[in-house]
């Protein structure tokens, strides 16, 4: 029952933070609220016994990606509010309908598959050792290919942000 308590508290926190990210006018607040969402998601990962993923999630998202976002928000000075135009309300109505349809679809799918996938499977702790063993045996080739992807990302970012290349 402890698990249920933590699940409801932190899933509610995640949803609230995510809603604030989407609805707030101030970009800086949006980034900071996403940090809060990341932390409560990491706690949900711990509840799911994915310890390594939870740690990496905090390090990579809160520590690197969102700091990068914050840098760019500060650099570009997009702190001013977005002006509400006629197209904005149009987008809001459209977005509301899309979200409504999506949520209904989720409800239908969950209703259809409920009952399957019981909690009878053994709990596998996602420790560094277990995940690392899998990464370096069965998923070794994809793991190596991600290093190429990171290299492409580095080179791309450097080439794009050079002043002369514009």
């Amino acid at each position: 029952m402890n698990e249920a308590f933590f699940f409801y508290v932190f899933s509610g926190l995640t949803l609230l933070a995510a809603l604030y990210v989407v609805l707030t006018k101030n970009p800086t607040y949006a980034v900071l609220s996403l940090v809060a969402a990341m932390f409560s998601l990491a706690i949900l990962f711990v509840l799911l016994h994915a310890y390594f993923i939870a740690a990496v999630h905090i390090l990579v998202y809160a520590g690197a990606i969102l700091v990068l976002f914050l840098f760019v928000v500060m650099l570009l000075g997009v702190g001013r509010e977005e002006t509400a135009s006629r197209s904005q309300t149009l987008y809001r109505i459209f977005g509301g309908w899309v979200v409504l349809g999506f949520l209904m679809e989720i409800g239908l799918i969950v209703k259809a598959v409920s009952g399957t996938g019981g909690a009878s499977s053994p709990v596998l702790a996602g420790t560094i050792e277990a995940v690392g063993r899998l990464l370096f045996t069965r998923y070794f080739l994809p793991f190596e290919i991600t290093s190429v992807l990171l290299l492409v990302g580095i080179i791309g970012a450097v080439v794009l942000s050079r002043k002369e290349s514009v």
Partner: protein, 100 residues
């Protein structure tokens, strides 16, 4: 008892919120931020499946998703800075130099 369905519903709600953000935001930077929400919704369902199916493959895939997200953010933010330098705005309604 918290089951797989609880996590899937949470993940679906997160995805819906992120999608709403992408549709309604007019600032390219904040659209990228909403994309991060989508990534995390997918990550959450991966981890939930890994837990309830007793298979760590889902967690390995979350690892790969994070690498892709990091690359996407690095490139996306570089493009956003270039866009701001060239157009003096990040509002996607005002950026229409690609329109014929």
């Amino acid at each position: 008892m918290i089951g797989l369905n609880h996590y899937l519903i949470l993940s679906g709600c997160l995805f819906a919120i992120g999608m709403y953000g992408i549709i309604t935001r007019r600032n390219a930077l904040l659209m990228l931020l909403s994309v991060e929400l989508l990534f995390n919704a997918a990550n959450l369902s991966f981890v939930a499946y890994a837990r309830y199916r007793g298979d760590l493959t889902g967690q390995v895939f979350v690892f790969f998703t994070m690498v892709v997200a990091a690359c996407e953010v690095a490139i996306g933010l570089a493009v956003a800075i270039l866009l701001y330098r060239a157009q003096e705005t990040l509002n996607t309604d005002e950026i229409h130099s690609l329109k014929g």
